[in-house]
């Protein structure tokens, strides 16, 4: 069983994300990776952006990894597309995922509720 946690649910661009991992089978695992990625959900075919992959050392049953988050793409929720950021831990055939929001606005952008604005 994989126990994966991240220090918070909302991050700003360029911030450091810390992921803590605890897994029984880590010492004897053949493959163990921590991945930072974003993915889309919705009406279109899914797109996945794998930003960084980190090899997990098998010296102990727990591990803490750090990722510097990029500036984008930011998390948003639309009617056709939702973009979500996540950290995934993959140990042999098992995996665990923690989702988070990457946004400079202190929240996920909800483009469904955006109003028209502007002027001359």
């Amino acid at each position: 069983m994989i126990d994966l946690s991240i220090d918070k649910a909302l991050y700003e661009p360029d911030e450091i994300l810390r992921a803590r991992l605890c897994a029984d089978g880590l010492l004897s695992a053949k493959t163990a990776e921590l991945r930072l990625l974003w993915f889309t959900q919705g009406k279109g075919t899914q797109d996945i952006g794998l930003i960084q992959t980190m090899e997990i050392p098998r010296s102990s049953a727990s591990f803490t990894g750090e990722f510097r988050l990029p500036r984008g793409p930011v998390s948003f929720r639309g009617q056709l597309i939702t973009l979500t950021w996540a950290v995934e831990a993959i140990i042999d055939q098992e995996f665990e995922r923690k989702e988070f929001v990457l946004s400079p606005f202190g929240r996920e952008i909800d483009i469904i509720s955006l109003q028209t604005a502007g002027g001359r």
């Binding site: 279109g44 990029p70 483009i111 502007g118 001359r120």
Partner: protein, 401 residues
């Protein structure tokens, strides 16, 4: 930094020649088909105004020609005390002579009931009694009259467009914009390519958008689609034979409607070539929570424009691939009005407006199948003429980039 391709004005000579040749060919072909249909319709409708007489069938047989069985019938009739002979089955309309339409009615069907020695009704031209036909047929192909008519209109519009809109300028998007066109396109690729491409700090540029080229491209695309579609459906329609042909025509009705819609759209695009040409200069990328400037100018017959509205439009665009097919879907999620110009504003032919970017919205994003796309849109209202509706892709980024 400002990028421009220079003050090019007007259609290029090559473009003008192409438009004229294309227009001549298109309207010429349309005119030929139009005259054939009109003449055939007239020929086919004449017997409906002739007088009925009794004809005696003298011979009734098939004659093989070109692998098809052609009916050959001779008959005689009396008209005001004088005897005449005839051999015309149907009116001598060009459409009735076409191979495809000969097949339309089988030879056996055409001479059914015309046994030798039988008295049958025939139709005689009162003013020229040596002209008679045994059968009358409605000119059903007259329903296709709009197709060559639209071709003639499109062709003439092309010629008109080439001569009449000499001030339309070609589009030139700045090189700076095209190099950084939106975000990373190959999101499935691992590593650095999964990150959106960001503009370099301080690398702001201004892009100039011009309407003429996009309009020409649109017109050519719609014309090709209309010609291709209508050409394809014309083949089975003109070759259909047998007693169930009515059902075949019924089946083709929706396809013919699509063909007409395509012709209408093509005509609309071609007419739009004569619209006043717009030029918009925008500082790019557009940054959230910052003001940006839009400078616009209109060339051509500006007095035709009733209203001109510039907006910034945010769109979700997705492609869904399933098995061998794929579908596109999009939804506008935000419209920011930049300027609404009245007749008076437009007559000044140029001006500027401020784009007030919102503090929070989704910036541009482009992956292989999913996009957040932003467009600078210009909508111009022209009474009794296709309106202006031009859209140019722009990049929206965060303030700190």
């Amino acid at each position: 930094m400002t990028s421009n391709t220079g003050p090019e004005q007007g259609f290029s000579l090559l473009g003008r020649i192409f438009a004229i040749l294309f227009g001549l060919a298109f309207s010429g072909i349309g005119a030929v088909f139009l005259s054939v249909i009109v003449y055939s319709t007239w020929q086919d409708l004449q017997p409906f105004f002739w007088e009925e007489a009794k004809c005696k069938i003298l011979t009734s047989e098939f004659k093989s020609a070109d692998g098809t069985n052609e009916p050959r019938v001779t008959y005689e009739y009396d008209w005001h005390g004088q005897r005449y002979r005839g051999n015309v089955l149907l009116a001598d309309a060009p459409m009735n002579r076409s191979a495809g339409l000969r097949k339309f009615s089988s030879a056996a069907g055409q001479i059914a009931g015309l046994e030798v020695g039988k008295l049958v009704p025939c139709y005689v031209a009162a003013d020229s009694p040596n002209r008679a036909v045994l059968r009358r047929r409605g000119a059903w192909y007259a329903f296709f009259l709009p197709i060559p008519l639209v071709c003639v209109v499109i062709g003439l519009a092309c010629i008109f467009g080439a001569f009449g809109s000499g001030k339309i300028a070609p589009q030139a998007v700045s090189a700076g914009l095209s190099r950084r066109k939106l975000l990373a396109g190959k999101a499935r690729t691992a590593g650095r390519d999964a990150l959106p491409r960001m503009p370099t700090p301080g690398g702001a540029s201004s892009a100039i958008f011009r309407s003429a080229k996009s309009r020409r491209t649109k017109a050519v695309v719609f014309l090709c689609m209309a010609i291709f579609w209508n050409g394809i459906i014309a083949i089975p329609i003109l070759s259909v034979t047998g007693s169930l042909s009515f059902l075949v025509y019924l089946f083709f009705v929706p396809f013919m409607l699509v063909g007409l819609i395509l012709l209408f759209a093509a005509a609309n695009c071609v007419l739009a070539l004569a619209n006043p040409a717009l030029e918009a200069r925008v500082s790019l990328p557009l940054k959230l929570a910052e003001n940006s400037s839009l400078q616009w100018s209109v060339q051509g017959k500006v007095e035709r424009l009733e209203e001109l509205v510039f907006t910034l439009e945010g769109k979700e665009e997705v492609t869904d691939h399933r098995d061998t097919s794929s579908s596109l879907e999009s939804r506008v999620f935000q419209i920011i009005e930049i300027a609404r110009l009245t007749r008076t504003d437009i007559r000044s032919r140029s001006g500027s407006a401020t784009i007030k970017m919102p503090e929070i919205t989704a910036p541009s994003f482009a992956a292989a199948n999913n996009k957040i796309a932003w467009y600078l849109r210009a909508r111009g209202v022209i009474p009794r003429w296709p309106d202006i509706d031009d859209a140019y892709p722009v990049q929206v980024v965060f303030k700190n980039l």
